[in-house]
């Protein structure tokens, strides 16, 4: 693809890792920003796989290969299109290189717990001395201030700490954590929103600023309705499976096939009557137990059994075609490995094939906002550990190759992690 990219004038030097913050900065890279990912050889990004190649599912065909940390699908997904540089920020020369990068960057971003940045001596006042208009995004689990701010967090602890887990689960079961840790990418996208607001302000005033984004708080935003319900009524909402106040039937129903499910959401009595026809049970539409929403709510288990009797005889695709033919909201419950073949995503060319030199060619989910004149794209594969050390240190910063050689010799930069354990 040629032509202008909308953020090609932006450079970000980032310490983001794992999911949330790394997703924030990948979104910038998709839009053309130059994102320089600073990594440590001593404490590798957890999404490079830690120090042992233990979770084989993240590697191509389960094979960690020679340098497993360059083959991890988790890391490679959220760092596509970035430049990768390793620096030991306790080494004087490496630290100097970091500050030089800050001096020519628009953005610094990180998602450590709040104690890490001060420990590294990289607070906003320090960075501002190097670059008066720098924008610093801090995206810790619990924010950069407050009693819990120094505590570590991840999706598995943020979901319960934000109230989401108390609402997620079967109506007769314990609270659970989602299978996906979905708060990370939402907080990550909110981080990108914050950075674009700050860039807009800076373009008009020249002023940078510091942004404090608490993943706990953005996650609470996902259940704003329950927060307000409690505030207005005084009773705390609880787990209800897939049941809804406004709709019934409203569930994932079993279909023909192994562990196959279809979501059906009936919004009105008219849609219920249409579903009854599809089910070959027009009698149910006028059945006193089910003809209006209060009745369907009161008899919801019987209702679900009746709908399941029908859905079990069809595939999820068949049910979807039939129900959507009557404008009833319905879709199969897709599995993650089926999504590249999703007819809607495929027809819109949502997936983009990316070849990583240490893995293979895979379809990557693409950019979810389509700009007509300056569309984004995945800018290429994720960097291998330290892949762009020389390009950034020597070519961009003009550090002599002799100095870089010395840094490499003492492990202040390089492409091989310091293996422990």
């Amino acid at each position: 693809m040629t032509g202008r990219l909308p953020l090609e004038h932006v450079r970000a030097t980032v310490l983001t890792q794992a999911w949330s913050g790394a997703f924030t900065t990948r979104l910038l890279a998709d839009m053309g920003a130059e994102v320089i990912q600073i990594e440590s050889l001593e404490r590798m990004d957890p999404w490079r796989g830690g120090y042992s190649p233990r979770r084989s599912g993240v590697y191509p065909n389960g094979d960690p290969g020679q340098r497993h940390y360059n083959r991890n699908a988790l890391y490679n997904s959220v760092n596509a299109g970035k430049l990768g540089v390793t620096l030991d920020l306790n080494d004087e020369d490496a630290r100097g290189a970091f500050f030089e990068l800050v001096s020519i960057s628009d953005i610094v971003a990180e998602n450590f717990s709040a104690r890490v940045l001060p420990n590294l001596g990289l607070t906003y006042p320090v960075l501002r001395e190097v670059n008066p208009s720098i924008i610093l995004l801090r995206l810790p689990a619990f924010g950069s201030a407050g009693p819990y701010s120094t505590y570590m967090g991840n999706g598995g602890t943020i979901e319960p700490m934000s109230g989401i887990s108390s609402l997620l689960g079967y109506e007769d079961g314990p609270p659970i954590i989602s299978g996906i840790m979905h708060t990370d990418p939402f907080s990550g996208a909110m981080g990108a929103a914050a950075l674009l607001i700050a860039l807009h302000h800076r373009a008009r005033t020249g002023e940078g600023q510091e942004i404090d984004l608490s993943q706990q708080e953005t996650s609470i935003g996902l259940i704003a309705d329950s927060v307000m319900r409690y505030s207005m009524s005084g009773s705390a909402p609880s787990r209800r499976g897939n049941y809804s106040d406004e709709m019934a039937p409203h569930n994932n129903y079993p279909c023909k096939g192994d562990d196959a499910w279809v979501a059906i959401a009936v919004r009105s009595d008219g849609e219920w009557a249409a579903l009854c026809e599809l089910m070959g049970r027009p009698d149910l539409a006028s059945d006193a137990r089910f003809r209006d929403l209060p009745g369907r709510q009161a008899n919801v288990r019987q209702l679900d059994d009746l709908v399941s009797d029908w859905t079990r005889r069809h595939t999820a695709d068949e049910v979807t075609r039939l129900a959507q033919g009557r404008s009833i909201p319905c879709a199969p419950a897709y599995r993650s490995d089926e999504l590249p073949g999703h007819p809607q995503l495929a027809s819109r060319g949502f997936f983009q094939r990316v070849t990583h030199p240490d893995t293979d060619e895979y379809p990557y989910p693409g950019v979810s906002w389509r700009l007509s004149r300056t569309p984004g794209r995945l800018g290429g594969p994720a960097p291998r550990l330290g892949e762009h050390n020389r390009a950034v240190l020597e070519q961009l910063l003009g550090i002599s190759s002799g100095l870089v050689d010395g840094m490499m010799a003492r492990g202040a930069t390089g492409d091989t992690p310091e293996l422990e354990d």
Partner: protein, 369 residues
């Protein structure tokens, strides 16, 4: 000073995704004009309502999403309404709408013709599945989006139905993507002087969020299993506990005064511990039963152990950390009194969110003409 005070957004969207996008504009100072159809925005009927009594001006979701915006009512399908809307578009930086595919075109508001009158206009469209493709006209709800995007399949027990996440997550995901798309187009406009059309599909917004899981499935050839991680019971609730590193493993068992387990060679590496997870959980439960969530959290979190308390909404609103940060805000109710709701989505040191514009004709809640 507000960061976006130079921007005017004409917001024709309704429901949640679009209004959440324009809420971000409004929170950071843009002049957002909310244009409602004569029947009102769908979120006016969503609630929650004070004492559960439905009232279109007291819907919590409507107020949360739309305060700080100016409001007008307009029948965009009438000739007068169309003319008025066209005038508003001439004077706007962003036009946001969530109409079905083809609706704006049928009204004569194709982007090409809007752009001919206002070259800098950024036109943002949010739809459930996109403006093209075989599903473009499919009906959708949150439950359906969570299923179609693969979010539901991974939630719950392997022997039961997949679970949707609580609330309106798909809508928020699409809303923030629309905002980032619009702001990106505005950043480009600073250089080119030209706006563009920004198209957001809720399904694609969700699928992009889960790109790590999708790519892992491509690598392994297997789907992400439906097996939600355990939250473990303790004295007064549930905690989520994630102990991966050797040092934190040791700290945790020493806290439980169980050095035998801390130094048991069978649990020496993380790989061993993952293999013996069920056995370890059985050992852990009696220890956890002796402590409250708060005791465990405040003892273990400072040892750099990943631990979370399962806070319900009531305890969330009394949480001392959130209290000290002043996260929750209050909003007045039209009938008197006030209620609490999530505050600023993030803190910007120079251009903080402005959550309370003066009430009145141009203030809260959007007046209906």
């Amino acid at each position: 000073m507000s960061a976006l005070s130079d921007l005017r957004v004409i917001d024709l969207s309704s429901g949640i995704a679009g209004p959440f996008c324009s809420k971000l504009f409004a929170d950071f100072g843009a002049d957002v004009i909310k244009v409602e159809p004569p029947g009102g925005d769908a979120s006016r009927s969503l609630g929650p309502f004070p004492d559960d009594r439905p009232d279109p001006d007291s819907s919590g979701m409507f107020i949360y999403l739309n305060r700080n915006k100016r409001g007008v009512t307009l029948d965009i399908e009438s000739e007068r309404g169309r003319a008025r809307a066209a005038d508003m578009f001439d004077d706007a930086d962003v036009l946001l709408e969530s109409f079905p595919p083809g609706y704006m075109d049928a009204l004569g508001f194709r982007y090409e013709s809007l752009e001919a009158r206002n070259a800098g206009l950024v036109h943002v469209s949010i739809t459930p599945f996109g403006l093209t493709g075989p599903w473009r006209d499919y009906a959708s709800t949150e439950l359906v989006q969570h299923a179609a995007s693969g979010q539901s399949f991974a939630n719950g027990s392997p022997d039961r139905e997949p679970l949707k996440q609580p609330g309106y997550e798909s809508a928020y995901q699409a809303g923030v993507c629309a905002f980032v798309g619009a702001m990106t187009a505005l950043a480009d406009r600073d250089f080119t002087g030209r706006g563009q059309f920004v198209e957001v599909s809720e399904l694609e917004a969700a699928a992009a969020m889960f790109s790590p899981q999708i790519l892992v499935a491509m690598h392994s050839g297997r789907t992400h299993e439906r097996r939600s991680l355990p939250i473990l019971p303790c004295k007064d609730g549930f905690v989520s506990l994630n102990v991966r590193h050797d040092a934190t493993w040791e700290y945790m068992w020493l806290f439980f005064d169980d050095p035998e387990t801390a130094y048991d060679p069978r649990y020496a590496t993380n790989a061993d511990r993952e293999r013996l997870a069920d056995e370890i959980e059985a050992k852990l439960l009696p220890h956890l039963a002796r402590y409250t969530m708060e005791e465990l959290f405040h003892e273990l979190a400072p040892l750099r152990i990943l631990i979370g308390m399962t806070l319900d909404v009531a305890s969330l609103m009394d949480d001392p950390h959130l209290g000290e940060r002043g996260f929750f805000a209050a909003a007045p109710l039209p009938g008197g009194g006030e209620f609490r709701l999530p505050g600023a989505p993030f803190r910007m040191s120079r251009t903080p969110a402005v959550l309370e514009r003066p009430a009145g004709a141009d203030g809260f809640p959007p007046a209906r003409e």
